[in-house]
């Protein structure tokens, strides 16, 4: 088991005057196997980003444990790397140094081969010397992915990484991410509110409901890929999509 989220509870102070606190999770449990690609699908406000932040170690649960690779998560570490919606590249470094950022920490000299290899993998070798702001949004997000992958993380935590991209580019990035996953078999937790994105990308889709965050159901989406031919003609896709919408419809 790569990750075990074990009966976690999390409460936030609410802005709502009638309720002083907002319970995001109450004894929530989720298991993710090694090398699995799991999508967490849910409406905004269901706590999926909070879940990701607790797995990443940015936030701590009030109760319960997050166990990664056999030990408790106590803070962020480079074996669980987050890719946010914003690429968040450092504008004062060129693309190559952005990718090498994690490797260079605490080291005077580094082996640049993995950096250049990963840049080639994401297809940006020729932009290694460019400033991040000279790249398009999709290219920036690929650099962000490369910066995470170069750390050889055991798990990728992706928080709606393609939500800011236009439809065409989003599809291209989905195909690309899926290919990367097939190649590296890194465990992936992918958070999205987009039904199609969850189904095509992941092997397993966890549908989340809110107040408090709970699992409404799970879908086995191994048979649908981003590169699958016309999704609307794909019976598996239509069935999964129907089921997902059904589950989401159970929301209060």
């Amino acid at each position: 088991m790569a990750l075990r989220v074990d009966q976690i509870s999390k409460t936030f102070d609410s802005d709502d005057a009638r309720r002083s606190t907002h319970q995001v999770f109450d004894q929530f449990t989720l298991d993710i196997a090694d090398g699995e690609f799991v999508a967490v699908l849910g409406p905004s406000g269901c706590g999926k980003t909070t879940l990701l932040r607790m797995i990443a170690g940015f936030d701590r649960p009030d109760a319960g444990r997050v166990i990664f690779d056999g030990s408790d998560v106590t803070g962020p570490a480079s074996d669980r790397v987050v890719v946010f919606q914003q690429p968040g590249l450092f504008p004062w470094m060129d693309v190559r140094h952005n990718v090498a950022f994690g490797l260079q920490l605490g080291r005077r000299r580094i082996d640049w081969r993995p950096v250049d290899e990963i840049l080639a993998t994401v297809g940006l070798s020729e932009f290694a010397g460019h400033a991040p702001y000279e790249l398009s949004g999709g290219m920036q997000q690929r650099v962000a992915l490369a910066r995470s992958l170069v750390m050889r993380p055991k798990m990728l935590l992706m928080d709606e990484p393609f939500a800011a991209l236009d439809a065409h580019l989003r599809h291209a990035m989905q195909v690309f991410l899926r290919e990367l996953w097939v190649e590296f078999r890194t465990t992936v937790l992918f958070i999205t509110h987009d039904v199609e994105e969850a189904i095509v990308l992941a092997e397993r889709v966890v549908v989340l409901g809110s107040n408090p965050g709970r699992i409404l159901g799970e879908l086995d989406a191994r048979d649908v890929h981003p590169s699958s031919a016309d999704l609307l003609d794909n019976a598996d896709y239509r069935r999964l999509r129907h089921r997902a919408i059904e589950l989401l419809g159970e929301l209060p």
Partner: protein
């Protein structure tokens, strides 16, 4: 301040959202605008010429006595006179250089101290609690008020003059540095932590560069503060310097020399501001994209 506000306004937007190029880089915008003669707005020359004509017209109309309101022509004469023969034993170039030296030393000192203090105040609550009240207390006090104390404490040499400029310039640097540190986007800090950066590495590799745009804003405001404190500083028993020149010539009703000094201070301040803008473009060419 408008500049700061404007940048804050754009900082929250993600440049990626507005670009949708799929393959290949989007057209690369040029950082700021490269300065060239062709771009130099001709209307400013018009304003300059117009002002000179208006000045000359008012002067020759004798609304004001000529000793009180020198014409551009007589100011030019005073300028040449002071340039070639000096004034009360000090040449104009020497006055200019000594003032430039005082301002430069004080300015560099203020930037170093101000940035260090600003960072210390954001990293330690104790330091902030100790320093901040003084900063807020000292800010509204005009530099002139310190002069008697500084003379008693440091005598009448270079020390009190440089210190006076420094003391009045430090707060604006400190405040902008604190601003810059506090406006560092949280995602940058979290990303760095995630990739394994410790507190010191986050500070030097993420927070410091993120604060640079605000530090430069502070530096640009500070250069004006430094020059405007100069005249006050050179009231302290100086025998040279542009501030001294203005003060001394004023007591003798040499208004042509006074105006010369004023214009020179303005030009020096403008040139130093220009130099900092050039430095800014070299150090943080990414400023406009974040």
């Amino acid at each position: 301040m408008a500049e700061t506000m404007g940048r804050w306004g754009t900082r929250r937007e993600w440049p990626t959202r507005t670009r949708s190029a799929v393959n290949g880089p989007s057209s690369v915008p040029v950082a700021g605008r490269p300065w060239s003669w062709r771009r130099f707005p001709i209307r400013y020359v018009g304003v300059l010429v117009g002002s000179l004509i208006a000045w000359q017209v008012v002067a020759v109309s004798h609304v004001f006595p000529s000793f009180a309101f020198p014409s551009p022509a007589s100011t030019w004469d005073s300028f040449l006179q002071t340039l070639h023969h000096g004034y009360q034993g000090s040449t104009l170039l020497a006055d200019l250089m000594v003032s430039l030296e005082r301002v430069s030393i004080a300015y560099v000192g203020a930037v170093v101290i101000g940035v260090t203090l600003g960072f210390a105040m954001t990293q330690s609550r104790a330091v902030f609690t100790v320093i901040d009240p003084y900063l807020q207390f000292l800010r509204p006090i005009p530099p002139l008020a310190y002069i008697p104390l500084f003379v008693v404490w440091f005598g009448i040499g270079e020390m009190p003059k440089v210190l006076l400029i420094l003391v009045s310039t430090v707060p604006v640097i400190v405040i902008n540095t604190i601003n810059g540190v506090r406006s560092t986007p949280n995602y940058r800090v979290e990303l760095a932590r995630n990739l394994g950066a410790n507190r010191r590495q986050i500070l030097t590799r993420v927070v410091f560069p993120s604060a640079l745009p605000d530090i430069f804003t502070g530096m640009k405001v500070a250069i004006g503060v430094a020059w405007s404190t100069l005249v006050a500083a050179e009231l302290i028993a100086a025998s040279r310097g542009l501030g001294w020149l203005i003060e001394q010539a004023g007591t003798e009703l040499q208004t042509g020399i006074v105006v010369t000094g004023i214009i020179l201070i303005g030009i020096m301040g403008y040139l130093m501001d220009l130099a900092i803008r050039v430095l800014e473009r070299v150090v943080i060419p990414w400023r406009d994209f974040v």
